[in-house]
């Protein structure tokens, strides 16, 4: 890749996405506002008596307190991943937005970076709202819990990048079902979101450890509850490497797809 191909200009593309986001901001805000309420209602009302306290990181936690940070991490994954898959694919393939941009001084690399950064920004907005709601119910320790906001951006880059990589390779928009079934759903279920990974059988643990969501969930628990099962630094490094790797792959495959 040549030098000077990525400049501050990528913010213009980011801004374009912000303008369209603002148009439907009410819809965009309602999900992160209501989702945690639904989960709290389900788990603190419906699950009472079925799941009591849970042992995690050397302490007893209520089940709802246990899953609250995982909800934020999962929202980060979903927001970023769905933005750079379905939404980016629509912009790329149906609306030809990127083709239009490529007739301007923007480079393809700037467009790709902007899409990833935008998806992380959207994920951060959702995480911030959820943090407020969960905090109001006492599931977040402040002020450390606020670190979840930059953490959401960091995680959003990782999931946005892997999403855009898939956008670079899927032949049709329906094909996103595959990475969702094979990648997103298993992660949602087995990343220590609904039960501690320490409960998994020995052979299954390495699988969970390979999931980027697992590391984001653990880091979210660390900042919200002050405890986690992993070595935080390793989780940060893992997510950083994952984000870097898939940003690079997204650059390669999106370029291959768009430049003919």
């Amino acid at each position: 890749m040549e030098i000077g191909v990525i400049s501050w200009r990528f913010w213009k593309v980011w801004r374009r996405n912000l303008v369209t986001f603002q148009k439907i901001w009410k819809v965009n805000f309602i999900t992160p506002l209501l989702e945690p309420l639904l989960f709290i209602a389900a788990f603190s009302l419906g699950f009472v008596g079925i799941v009591g306290q849970i042992r995690y990181g050397g302490a007893e936690l209520s089940y709802t307190a246990f899953i609250a940070p995982a909800l934020i991490a999962t929202a980060v994954m979903n927001n970023a991943f769905f933005e750079t898959t379905y939404a980016s694919f629509v912009r790329m393939y149906y609306q030809k937005t990127f083709d239009g941009m490529l007739a301007t001084p923007l480079s393809i690399e700037e467009i790709i970076v902007a899409e990833i950064v935008w998806s992380a920004s959207k994920a951060t907005a959702a995480a911030a709202i959820m943090l407020g709601v969960l905090g109001a119910f006492g599931y977040v320790q402040f002020p450390y819990g606020l670190i979840a906001i930059p953490l959401a951006f960091f995680g959003g880059i990782a999931f946005g990048a892997v999403g855009l990589f898939f956008t670079g390779v899927v032949p049709t928009i329906e094909m996103f079902n595959l990475p969702i079934f094979l990648f997103v759903t298993p992660m949602f279920l087995f990343s220590g979101t609904f039960f501690p990974v320490s409960n998994l059988p020995l052979w299954a643990k390495p699988l969970a450890l390979a999931f980027p969501l697992y590391h984001l969930v653990e880091l979210a628990r660390l900042v919200c509850l002050g405890r986690c099962e992993t070595v935080p630094l390793l989780s940060i490094v893992y997510l950083a490497v994952f984000a870097f790797l898939f940003t690079t792959l997204a650059l390669i495959f999106m370029r291959r797809r768009l430049i003919k």
Binding site: R9, K12, V13, R15, R16, V19, T20, K23, Q95, K96, T97, D99, G100, M101, L102, A103, T104, P105, L106, S107, I259, K260
Partner: protein, 303 residues
């Protein structure tokens, strides 16, 4: 004077197709240059290489004297492109489309506002400034794409089939604006397969087919050279006419039910034809670019 565009031995190969097969041309400053050809001739592919969208397989492209592969950012800042596909942003309003696009060129917001107002006025879109792109008619969409391509006050405007699919009213409106732009001294490159459009707008044009340039010249010049000024169309031709044409060695196209004669100037052929061969129907008309085009590219369907 230095040409605005210099293209030398340009090739573009996709896996198994050679879309552009070694073409060379130049476009001078202030010139309205046409790239004519049937569907699949390689017009869009050529244009895309010109504005740095796709890298050439081989060949040299210089725009404003700069190499596109190296100075693409500087070049792109100075050209406006009206792509063949509609690349307007359906998520944005008419006005926002221009404003957001201005951002890509790093035009300061204040300046962008005044240019947007100006361009919407020029393309008769002011009263639709808050409309969604989805709600615009085909003609308005084209005009908005044109307006958008001028937001950076380009020194070169590149238009890929700007009037394809428009009704006659909208087409004439677009032509009218393009003529105004030409009068202002803007250099313009246009691709089209409408001969009327090319005749009316282009100072000079090339006809391309299968990725190769067939001819190069002004519309009048090409008509003169390849069909002559006068054309006679004869319906229901008989053998006597065919024999006569053969004997006289008159250039013509025999379409079975119809014969088209290309009669050179100062020739009394037309009188002879009128007197002896106009049994059913005869049309005497001027030669057109369409005659040139069909003679050179043939009459088979392309897609």
């Amino acid at each position: 004077m230095q040409p605005i565009i210099e293209v030398q031995h340009l090739f573009k190969k996709f896996q198994d197709v050679t879309a552009v097969d070694g073409i060379s041309f130049t476009v001078g400053s202030g010139e309205f240059f046409g790239l004519l050809g049937p569907n699949g001739a390689g017009k869009t592919t050529t244009i895309r290489m010109l504005y740095g969208f796709s890298p050439p397989t081989r060949g040299i492209i210089r725009v404003f004297g700069m190499e596109i592969s190296r100075d693409w950012r500087k070049i792109k800042a100075r050209i406006g492109v009206c792509q063949q596909d509609n690349t307007l942003d359906p998520d944005l309003t008419v006005e926002q489309n221009l404003m957001v696009f201005a951002g890509y060129f790093s035009i300061p917001p204040k300046e962008a506002v005044s240019r947007t107002r100006e361009l919407l006025e020029f393309f008769a879109l002011s009263n639709r400034r808050n409309a969604k792109v989805m709600d615009l008619s085909g003609g308005m969409i084209r005009r908005l794409i044109l307006a958008r391509s001028l937001i950076n006050r380009p020194d070169l405007l590149i238009l890929d089939e700007p009037t394809t699919g428009l009704d006659p009213q909208s087409r004439h409106q677009v032509w009218d604006r393009l003529e105004k732009l030409r009068a202002s001294g803007l250099s313009i490159v246009l691709t089209t397969h409408y001969m009327e459009e090319a005749s009316r707008l282009c100072d000079r044009l090339v006809i391309v087919d299968a990725g190769k340039i067939l001819v190069d010249g002004s519309p009048a010049d090409l008509i003169e050279r390849h069909v002559g000024r006068h054309v006679i169309e004869i319906g229901g031709p008989d053998q006597a006419l065919r024999d006569f044409l053969k004997a006289q060695q008159v250039p013509h196209d025999d379409l079975g039910q119809r014969i088209i004669l290309y009669t050179p100037d100062g020739n009394d052929l037309s009188a002879a034809v009128r007197a002896n061969f106009c049994h059913e129907q005869c049309t005497f008309r001027n030669g057109t670019l369409e005659d040139v085009f069909l003679r050179l590219t043939g009459r088979e369907l392309r897609d």
